[in-house]
Symmetry: C2
Subunit: 281 residues, 2 copies
């Protein structure tokens, strides 16, 4: 039997159990004894913001992250303005949920645009424009570097080092980094970058890198222990950097989505207790 | 009409026209007016080493690379020894062909092994053991950093910076780096790393990053101009670093392999002349 203390830092990101509505996911967390949940804006909108906030509070769960803001790389001014407006709404929601962070995914290259550096610069500028608004509302923005497999079409910020280069332009309370094992496990010198990040780490997301990579790269993530990532070593580095927050399991995978969600939660609890939790302190 | 001078630095890597035997590929290069060919050991073995050397010499082609050595990451001593023996044979072949470099692909994680750092260290040690042998035969080893998409199962050296950290332990004449746009286009600060590489660049391989990524990630490469890579900018950086060697088109792609090889060569010539050749000097 697991005790409440052992699972107190474990969080279920809603994408891991994609077929569950927000109320179902909240109930699933409570049933499993988890301490937190990672919420997606789309599922929050389905139940309505006020009702979502009430459900989370009544369940006694922390919100380890709100997913997602970002998608900042449009070169078209109208699109860039729409993205900024959407991010402000996301900041309001993160504030209402007392989320530990609003996860920012940079976005990819606009169609036909091959200037990666310019796209990266636009993402950094967009973050800079959001900081005062987030600061007023007490929301910490979390820049998520993404595996280079997504550099063209989803996230132009590719390494923890690069994310920190942007985050360090701002106060630690305003801008941090999201550390996801799937995105960063391969990064040369990642242990040093985690040490550098220190209290900038606002989210620790976990899932595995599996091979052969599933055909749809957006659904290419695996359950911890099913792939190549050394979770004990990576987690030890995250803990050594001083991270004391929740550990969020975020797995996009069609096979998992076809399985009964409660059994997926059972598996993630078992893997967490074996591969991650013992290395958190 | 294209002139010989415009195509004198263009090289066909055999993998781009996988259905051609070595004699057919050599003839294809001659017919198209190319200056060089990138040869694979498997196709060389089909015709025999001596005959292969004779065919290349008679055609007046340079060998821009011999593919491939490496696959160094076995933890098992017998496997590591077998890899070393195979690499010595590859060095002999590269010497016989006067190849500009022997391309070294590091290899992936052994089955069930999650210690990426140890695998990287084994690759570096294996290179160190090969250097005296390569030096005696006048062969420059070329470390090929690979896109992190292959970090688990093919190449644990993931960035140009990381490849240079290894290469710089040795004389420039002995160990260089292979710069492949597919592997490196996303790397933060890659222009600086190319400048740092300077005369360590022993091969410039080109192909595009296309999305959605084809289901088989080993065949995920695209023809220049079909994807997201900014070839003029990347090529300008390679030229600014002082690279004056051949430009090798290496594309693993099932659709291209199904097309008539001569038409693939025509397309690569057209794309090279438009996107790469004008930026080489």
């Amino acid at each position: 039997m697991t005790t409440g203390a052992e699972l107190s830092r474990l969080s279920l990101n809603q994408r891991t159990t994609a077929s569950w509505s927000l109320p179902e996911a909240i109930q699933g967390c409570v049933d499993a004894g988890l301490g937190a949940i990672g919420i997606w804006r789309e599922q929050l909108a389905e139940v309505g913001f006020d009702e979502g906030c009430r459900l989370v509070a009544d369940a006694g769960l922390r919100v380890s992250s709100l997913c997602r803001g970002g998608f900042f790389t449009a070169a078209d001014p109208a699109e860039a303005q729409a993205a900024e407006a959407s991010n402000r709404e996301a900041i309001d929601e993160a504030a209402g949920l007392s989320a530990a962070t609003l996860v920012l995914v940079a976005g990819g290259l606009p169609t036909g645009d091959r200037d990666l550096q310019a796209a990266r610069d636009r993402a950094a500028s967009a973050i800079e424009r959001l900081v005062p608004y987030a600061h007023e509302r007490g929301v910490t923005l979390g820049i998520e570097p993404m595996n280079p497999i997504y550099a063209a079409d989803r996230g132009v910020i590719s390494t923890l080092g690069q994310a920190l280069d942007i985050a360090e332009r701002f106060d630690t309370a305003d801008v941090g980094v999201v550390v996801d094992t799937f995105h960063l496990w391969w990064e040369p010198g990642v242990a040093d970058q985690l040490q550098r990040a220190g209290e900038r780490i606002v989210s620790y997301q976990i899932c595995d890198w599996i091979t052969p990579l599933p055909a749809d790269t957006l659904l290419a993530r695996g359950m911890m222990g099913d792939g190549h990532i050394d979770f004990p070593t990576f987690t030890t580095s995250v803990a050594a950097a001083g991270y004391g927050g929740d550990v969020e399991v975020e797995i996009f995978n069609a096979d998992l989505w076809a399985a009964p969600p409660a059994s997926v939660v059972d598996t993630m609890v078992e893997r967490y207790l074996r591969l991650v939790q013992p290395y958190l302190t």
